[in-house]
Amino acid sequence: MGDAEVAVDGLPIVATDVDVVRRDTRVLSDVDATIRAARRTFILGPNGSGKSTLLRVLHGLLAPVRGQVTWGGLTAPPPGQAMVFQRAVLLRRSAAGNIRHALKLAGVRGAEAQRRVADALSTVGLAALAERPARVLSGGEQQRLALARAWALAPRVLFLDEPTASLDPAAARAVEAIVRDFHALGTTIVMTTHNLAQAKRLADEVVFLDGGRVTEHTAAEQFFRSPRSLQAKTFLEGERL
């Protein structure tokens, strides 16, 4: 039973000596990272440091050319993960239809699916727009719908790739609130952002990337007070200027 639980859980996610090459360019080198259960881990770093790539590797969307990733000891990503992208990718269907589609792929149908769709839409405040075509919603509504789709799947791990980068402050706050709701239910959060204030508000841990290498992995409070690596110091100082 104990073993089975670990296997189903898929946590922690452990990356070991990971190298990733994309279009003949090395974007991650010797990356070690551990994502622990129920924590909010933020991947920070300058543009082009490999944040999004690391997120995709941890989600199992991208296979490393060297090294390995394990999910609770498994070598393939187990079910129970969801990802929200910088720009929500929504199907040409209604808001509710988008969530139903994801549930169907996860094997959830019928009354249970119906219940989850309604619950997810009301959680993100889109219940009134359930039958609206998803792709004509505003940017903020689209991102909330992407979060509702993830919510309906009740993931153990939620990956978010700069989910507020193209949103106005009010819409960004709404997204942050939903991320808190996920975490309150025990969902493990792995997120990238350019917004350091947001990382300060939400992060438990920070993985700092520079030039495709992890220069430190520390508690968020410690990271923002006194980062250990020179690269992180420089990065945070640049932000203060």
Binding site: Q81, F85, L91, L105, A106, P133, R135, V136
Partner: protein, 238 residues
Amino acid sequence: MQSGMDTISQSFAVALGLVAHLDPRLTEIVGLSLAVSLTATLISAAIGLPLGAAIAVGRFPGRAPLIVVLNAAMGLPPVVVGLFVYLLLSRAGPLGPFGLLFTPPAMVIAQTVLIVPIVAALTRQFVEDAWSEYREQLASLRSSWLQSTATLLWDTRWSLATVLLAGFGRAAAEVGAVMIVGGNIDGVTRVMTTAIALETSKGDLPLALGLGLVLITLVMALNVGAHVTRHYARLRFG
């Protein structure tokens, strides 16, 4: 010159009369045209939609040259397709024993060969555009190859409807292929385009013009239909 203009305007008036009164000769030809081209379009949809989607989503050796060939095949000369199908169906050909030459099924086969590349190539384009947008999201949802293909075909359904309209238009308007494999036999394999060619050469302008009016109306209606479909889908689904 004056009398020439009179002939044309008289022919035009008679032609309008034929259309307005649903002249049996005209309706029979129009009916066969629609039946043949609609059947060819349905068969092409059954072959071309999954084929185009599979090429869009699949990654296999020879994919790039296959796409080039498919795109080039959109412009196959109907006469050559007719000749090719004629050779297949002729008594000495591999499909000769079925005795299909100079029957409506032969015309369906020729038009299908003509428009399958159109349906498959355009489907490939539309589905691949959607695929490049959806790929990561569907991978994140752990969608299988087959599930992804089904999702993409459904999500591009409005674009694919316009593809089928284009295929149908091409089939209904071509003359070379059906002329060769159908033989333009009165009451059996005579369709709008072959009838227009024959009646014009015989000098029976009213019937040729009447059929021409129907054909032009059909082709224009198809194009308007495609335009309206695209416009509606963009407004409704983004």
